[in-house]
């Protein structure tokens, strides 16, 4: 069954792009249901920082080779200290996306054993992909302030 039939609240962005807005507790169920109904390719998990609302938007992308349709399942979590359940049992590759989002945004995924350092090494500041992290200011304060080697 196609996503529109399964979830009548789904919104069609354009041909072949469906967007479902839902809440945190329903995601596992929706992803499972879509997986059983032909949406077998998990494309990616992305995270958008809506700093004005104080929310992170997690977007689960799934694709059906059969219907040629792409579904984005979108949920909002709080920016501070909120956590989400891992879905690595459904699709193994979600684990890696969760590791990246944990490192770059600071969202906690309960049940994922490999969270921790992934791309950065020894990063002491706030997760860099958050909107309130100012990369230009950081660069001016760190890299350009590192003194040149003085030759006598």
């Amino acid at each position: 069954m196609m996503a529109k039939e399964l979830f009548p609240e789904a919104q069609e962005l354009r041909k072949g792009r469906i967007r479902i807005e839902t809440t945190k507790d329903k995601v596992t169920e929706i992803v499972k249901k879509l997986k059983e109904n032909g949406y077998e390719h998990f494309v990616m998990l992305s995270c958008v920082d809506w700093i004005k609302d104080g929310k992170f938007e997690l977007v689960y992308h799934m694709w059906s080779y059969e219907y040629r349709e792409h579904v984005m399942i979108s949920i909002k979590v709080d920016r501070d200290g909120d956590s989400m359940v891992t879905l690595r049992d459904l699709f193994p590759q979600i684990e890696t996306y969760e590791r990246e989002i944990h490192e770059m945004f600071g969202v906690n995924f309960v049940g994922n054993p490999r969270l921790g350092e992934f791309i950065l090494e020894g990063w002491p500041h706030m997760p860099p992909m958050r909107k309130d992290f100012d990369t230009e200011k950081f660069v001016n304060e760190i890299y350009y302030k590192i003194p040149e080697v003085k030759e006598e």
Binding site: H41, M44, V59, R68, F91, P92, Q93
Partner: protein, 379 residues
């Protein structure tokens, strides 16, 4: 006699673990067999997605092509398509054909490198020399068309930057004729080579029933036995007007079917067949290309305001599905650009899983036959 050391750890990389870039594998080995592998990435992290939020829409075009170095054009095309999707633009017909030609040239040059690389990792260094050398002829044509060898910045939102030079057809036909003549030599050297077959068949197998579940895409998926290609499933550029075949296992044309599913041998064979199809596509596109404008008449770049919305576009690159998820809030800069690189799944989850049970000597060939490109993992 009992062995003194039963199990040991090996660190492969960050320098060339069979991938075009810095990336490393940490493997646990017992005797000669890999027990466990972990991928370590982050050596090429530049924070593209952060930088793109700081720049206006047009400034991001020269930035995105740096995400995948062997095949930069897919990034330009995908980003441009995402902007066009949000803006609701329809690009001129001629630009679509030019994009097709550029993308297929990029695929050819990337495949030449990969096929040469796979062979070189199994000891056939001649193939790598040939691959790099023949790729240079394509780079020369790129230079004629776009003005640069590696980063072209030629595909823009709204079309392509300028029209192709008048002698493009002759230039390209000459190179394509040459490459077509070279293909049988590559076949003799690699695919039909007994040594290569002995090393490559049944090594690093992706099982057919797991391939889609693991998120495998592109030539790796097709070599596992699915005829799935986003050029056919969701046609972009001018692919819907061009007649071409999608090679997949077990239909390997004139090559022997030697093994079950996606191993190093099939993955190489699929890439060889795809190169022939690319040549075919470029020839058709050159023949059918209509006259007309190549760039949409759009507002001044600095004044672009992209309507609010979500867009996901995908391009079939030489490595698999390259996707761009772009979010706009109606402003001058994107809120979020998230890149889905094909190597993300191939290099980390798939490699970690299929590495179990490999010989150490087969590790690098397996990694390179998955065509892992680290810059698109960490961006």
């Amino acid at each position: 006699m009992k062995p003194i050391v039963k199990e040991y750890e090996l660190f492969i990389g960050p320098n060339h673990p069979g991938a075009t870039g810095n990336m490393s594998y940490h493997i646990w080995v017992e005797g000669d067999k890999v027990k466990k592998a972990e991928t370590r990435v982050g050596y090429l992290h530049r924070g593209f997605e952060k930088l793109m939020e700081k720049r206006i829409w047009m400034q991001n075009v020269p930035l995105v092509c740096r995400i995948c170095v062997p095949e930069p054009d897919v990034n330009e095309a995908a980003y441009s398509m995402a902007v066009e999707d949000l803006m609701g633009w329809e690009i001129p017909e001629r630009a679509k054909y030019i994009r097709t030609i550029i993308l297929e040239m990029a695929r050819l040059s990337a495949h030449l490198l990969t096929v040469g690389g796979i062979a070189a990792s199994l000891g056939i260094y001649t193939a790598a020399q040939w691959g790099v050398g023949d790729r240079d002829y394509l780079l020369d044509v790129f230079e004629q068309i776009t003005g640069a060898r590696v980063y072209h910045i030629y595909i823009w939102p709204g079309g392509v930057r300028w029209d192709v030079p008048k002698n493009t057809k002759e230039l390209l036909t000459k190179v394509l004729d040459y490459l077509e003549k070279r293909m049988p030599l590559y076949e003799d050297l690699i695919i039909k080579n007994k040594v290569f077959i002995r090393r490559a068949a049944d090594v690093g197998v992706i099982p057919k029933d797991k391939a889609i579940k693991w998120g495998v895409t592109g030539p790796n998926l097709r070599s596992a036995g699915y005829q799935l290609d986003f050029r056919k499933l969701e046609p972009y550029a001018a692919y819907d007007k061009i007649d071409f075949e999608v090679p997949y296992y077990p239909k390997l044309g004139e090559y022997e079917v030697l093994s079950e599913g996606s191993d190093i041998y099939t993955r190489t064979a699929i890439r060889m067949l795809e190169m022939q199809q690319s040549i075919n596509i470029i020839r058709q596109a050159l023949k059918d290309m209509p006259e007309g404008d190549v760039l949409l008449k759009h507002p001044q770049w600095f004044a672009w305001k992209v309507p609010a919305g979500y867009s996901y576009v995908r391009v079939e690159s030489s490595k698999g599905e390259f996707g761009y998820f772009v979010v706009s809030d109606g402003g001058k800069k994107p809120v979020r650009v998230h890149v889905r690189g094909p190597s993300y799944t191939h290099g980390i989850n798939v490699m970690e899983t299929i590495a179990k049970g490999l010989n150490v000597a087969d590790f690098a060939p397996t990694a390179i036959s998955l065509d892992v490109c680290p810059p698109d993992i960490e961006r």
